[in-house]
Subunit: 140 residues, 4 copies
């Protein structure tokens, strides 16, 4: 099945004096695309926080292949690499929208915490969200 | 008396493809300098929030005179322009540390709110903070 | 005639610990909307820089009325307030997409420079761009 | 020998609505510390770009251990993990300045390019910079 696709048009303020997108912004684009995916599946991350769950990032990895410039639009392709109720890993491929050339690949690992900052498993008492992430896996 | 001075060394990620500091960053430097001033006077803004007061910005104005580049350090000079318990206005002059050339001037107006998002006056029940801002005025 | 409209969906990384959008981001949204307008009229700002013209910001003013939060989408309405070949001023109104409530109003003044950093008038030798900004005025 | 140490005081605008530093900022702190190291060794990165060399990031990895908050200061410890003239890898440990608790660990891999965007080896014709990175290795 299809992974999640998300488009981002480069903003001028995302460039640096190398005349390319500063590498830190790709990590932000990963977040944009990840939260968009949750929203598309019917449960926005804003709702998740209102329900007392936060999902901090515990690991980010990015391999930069080619450069993105102002004027470009990129398409991010997301796939769930693993999910076990406690952690989930998403893989990202960022491509130029026009040429399809790969700009970077990457991954994020996230966990889940309650409002007291304790690690939680979505399998125990958070069925709605557990189902959400299972649905993301089935999208692959 | 002397106003508050605050130094900021330009970060590479603050530049854009014009090879100058992106104009939005000066607004962030204003914040750095403003909160540093509070801390130097003995009450950090983190403490203020813990005490149930937030201080949102209600107005920002910046006039850009000359450009700042990576490799530069700037010095911000801050003066309280007004404070009445409800709002306070700070004026900023940003200069190159080496040449003294003015990079920009600006101002911010802030208000005070309690945790319910209601506007408050520091004169009514927040004496410690009212005194803090009075002290900032006397620094001028 | 209609002014230019531009939508922006709030990103999580644009929030701060007040649980609202950090005030510096509105300045970035102004830029997004301004450059989008140029592109919609047929000449992207990336092309303008390739043609040897940069357009730095010389003044920014923002009045914050109400708060924007993660989960919100805002609509920016832009109007050219003045243009004389040397400088142009845009006025901005940012509204919540759903309720229409005004989040902030603001303005930017920009100038034009050649690659040597000299101020230029678009009326002298840059007819294509002079026409672009005249068209933006006529959109009002 | 001692590795390079670099302090960063958390800025309010670096927080997000989880009331912690947004994870993308650590990548920016890595850059601050890396460029500071070069400058401390006598050749700033601004000079390197003037000499026609850019050093884009080709890989970033971060493992987040604990959270950093507004009011905190962190100390970054940098070590060169490898350098061969073509690529160099730096390892980072970010600790709370007061408690020493590890906030995150990470690494970056950078390459070198000339102004035409061609990969270069600093061993061939860029002796001053080759020596700089060798000196960074010897600092370990």
């Amino acid at each position: 099945m299809a992974a999640h696709l998300y488009e981002h048009k480069v903003h001028y303020y995302e460039t640096d004096q190398m005349k390319i997108v500063h590498h830190s912004n790709y990590v932000r684009w990963f977040e944009e695309a990840r939260l968009d995916w949750m929203e598309q599946l019917g449960i926005g991350y804003d709702q998740m926080e209102k329900d007392g769950i936060i999902s901090p990032i515990v690991e980010v990895n990015v391999k930069y292949k080619t450069m993105t410039r102002f004027g470009d639009t990129v398409v991010l392709e997301l796939n769930i690499e693993s999910y076990n109720g406690v952690k989930f890993v998403i893989g990202y491929v960022v491509r130029d929208k026009v040429t399809g050339e790969v700009r970077c690949t990457g991954s994020t690992m996230s966990c889940f915490m309650n409002e007291e900052g304790m690690l939680i498993s979505l399998k125990r008492g958070y069925e709605k969200y557990d189902q959400l992430f299972r649905n993301m896996m089935e999208c692959e």
